[in-house]
């Protein structure tokens, strides 16, 4: 809303908004700051805000003593793997629902969404036992499959709402010119849908990266991603705030930055197009 306000009003509003924003952001800022402190200064009383002996030692320690990098690689593989697999399945599905809608399309979309509503604990036992039987426990393949299925409805929905906005006449024109279905999707639709696909990818990577139920319960060490790694800090061991902060900072930084770029699309993805 572009309403005219006095400079004074604007200053008061700005001050209030910035205060709220900084308060909400403070725990993240504090974690990043603590990650650069020596352990002793991390628990200093009164707390030291900036005037501590800045060090990178915690990052070195977390990498060397706790094998951080292996967990990071697992997180990357699981997030990218499940997103890629999800796209391969969802692009054709969303295409067909957006451009060749049938009488049942709406019901089908609603049904896909309803699979999201199933609480994970409700199926923890059978999935755990199935994974055990199939030898998928603590494997990256297993996690990729579970996270793909978990997020597939969201990917289909998001792509569907983006595809819907592409005028069907363009596809018809391509068809008239003799384009096959494959080339229609590859050369006409996909380039036009790139922004939509990109934000779908971003949201899905964020969701997969932060997923903390299946990734914790279905892994032990080999396939364990960062969620599991961080959970390992839940029982304190001597002075560990600075190391916890360093590990946390590394775990959240990539996703935080991606989140900043995708925040506008986030609304659409997470509300299944109900709020734009």
């Amino acid at each position: 809303m572009a309403r005219h306000v006095t400079t004074q009003r604007r200053a008061i509003n700005s001050a209030a908004a910035w205060t709220v924003a900084l308060m909400l952001f403070f725990p993240i800022l504090w974690t990043v700051l603590t990650s650069f402190k020596p352990e002793a200064q991390a628990v200093a009383s009164p707390p030291i805000f900036l005037g501590f002996d800045w060090t990178l030692q915690n990052y070195v320690d977390v990498n060397e003593q706790r094998d951080y990098f292996r967990y990071f690689v697992n997180s990357v593989i699981i997030a990218l793997g499940s997103t890629a697999l999800g796209l391969v399945l969802a692009i054709p599905a969303a295409w067909s629902m957006a451009f060749v809608p049938g009488r049942k399309t709406k019901d089908l979309l609603m049904w896909m969404l309803s699979t999201k509503m199933m609480p994970a604990v409700g199926v923890l036992v059978p999935i755990y036992l199935l994974f055990k039987t199939l030898g998928l426990l603590d494997t990256r393949v297993g996690l990729v499959v579970v996270l793909t299925l978990m997020n597939l409805p969201i990917i289909v929905w998001m792509l569907y709402t983006y595809f819907k906005e592409i005028p069907g006449e363009i596809l018809e024109a391509a068809r008239m010119d003799g384009a096959t279905l494959k080339s229609e999707i590859l050369y006409v639709l996909t380039p036009m849908a790139v922004p939509g696909i990109a934000s779908t990818v971003l949201l899905n990577i964020i969701l997969a990266w932060n997923e903390a139920f299946w990734t914790i319960n279905l892994t032990v060490t080999d396939a364990a991603p960062l969620t599991k790694f961080i959970s390992g800090f839940s029982s304190p061991q001597g002075l560990f705030y600075a190391k916890l902060s360093a590990a946390s900072t590394m775990a959240i930084a990539p996703i935080l930055i991606m989140g900043w770029f995708s925040q506008k699309q986030l609304v659409r993805g997470l509300t299944f197009g109900a709020v734009k």
Partner: protein, 290 residues
């Protein structure tokens, strides 16, 4: 427009997704139902066979169940109340003409991207810890004795942590809805002499109704499954004072190895979630045509 062949192709492209989701939905659910009627404890492999509804009565009548249902409801309702009310206020504030709106937005939305175990551990250790936490330092500074948040008020502390994570979501959606409100409508009301309160009450709030519904329903779905935060902060304790339904089922299944009872609990959780889902689907379905 759609020819016979394109229909066939469309079906072919749709079916892998549909079949996979169907399998993903039906197979585990059927297994849960089956296990829930069986004697099945990994510690006692010789005890097998039908248990009729024994697992259900065992789960529902266990002393922890009633508390877990109450805790789950308190958690969901508490977080919803905080996030919706503060979300509306913050959205109204950010929607005003302010300097650096883009950066404010980014700062406000940030907690949403923090993975749950990280959020929980940061709060548990660096803020709520009674000896080294910042809250304890603040209490000492103003002359109060430090408070053991997770020890004395575990559920309220978890609500605070989870609300911090979900407030950005509520704010962002409400802000998006607010920005789609036409300024003419507000200006007209202003000209007619409507004050800020009545402008909010009679114009903004009705406009936000749909967004609020969506926030409440989607958050409920996620909040009913809150798990990681409890696992790393309180382990459901002290005692069972912060044990929710998902955590109770997790405990039965992976800590007590009682597959049958955990499965019965799973069925109960599915039923509860479906009641919520029913209303959510109706709200979203209505918007689908628009």
């Amino acid at each position: 427009m759609a020819t016979q062949s394109s229909r066939k192709a469309a079906r072919a492209m749709l079916s892998p997704t549909v079949i996979l989701l169907l399998v993903w939905m039906i197979v585990p659910l059927a297994m849960t139902l089956w296990f829930s009627l069986q004697r099945y404890n990994l510690l006692y492999p010789d005890r097998t066979g039908f248990n009729d509804f024994g697992n259900y009565t065992r789960f529902v009548l266990s002393p922890a169940f009633g508390g877990a249902v109450v805790n789950t409801l308190v958690l969901v309702v508490g977080v919803l109340a905080i996030t919706v009310i503060l979300g509306i206020l913050i959205a109204l504030l950010i929607d005003q003409p302010i300097w650096g709106q883009g950066i404010v937005r980014i700062l406000v939305i940030s907690p949403f991207f923090i993975m749950p175990p990280v959020a929980a551990l940061i709060w548990k250790n660096m803020f709520m810890n009674p000896t080294n936490g910042l809250f304890a330092e603040a209490a000492k500074f103003i002359g109060l004795s430090p408070y053991d948040f997770l020890g004395n008020a575990p559920l309220a502390s978890i609500i605070l942590i989870v609300a911090w994570q979900w407030l950005p979501f509520a704010t962002l959606i409400l802000l998006t809805a607010l920005q789609s409100l036409s300024s003419e409508e507000l200006e007209a009301a202003e000209m007619d002499g409507a004050g800020p309160v009545s402008r909010f009450w009679y114009i903004m709030l009705p406009h936000l109704a749909r967004a609020i519904t969506v926030v409440v329903l989607i958050q409920t779905i996620f909040l009913l499954g809150i798990f990681g935060e409890i696992l790393v902060t309180t382990n459901g304790g002290p005692g069972t004072s912060s044990t929710t339904l998902p955590y109770l089922i997790y405990k039965e299944a992976l800590l007590d190895f009682d597959v049958g009872t955990a499965a019965a609990g799973g069925v109960v959780a599915v039923i509860l979630a479906n009641i919520v889902a029913f209303f959510l689907m109706r709200a979203i379905g209505k918007n689908l045509d628009a």
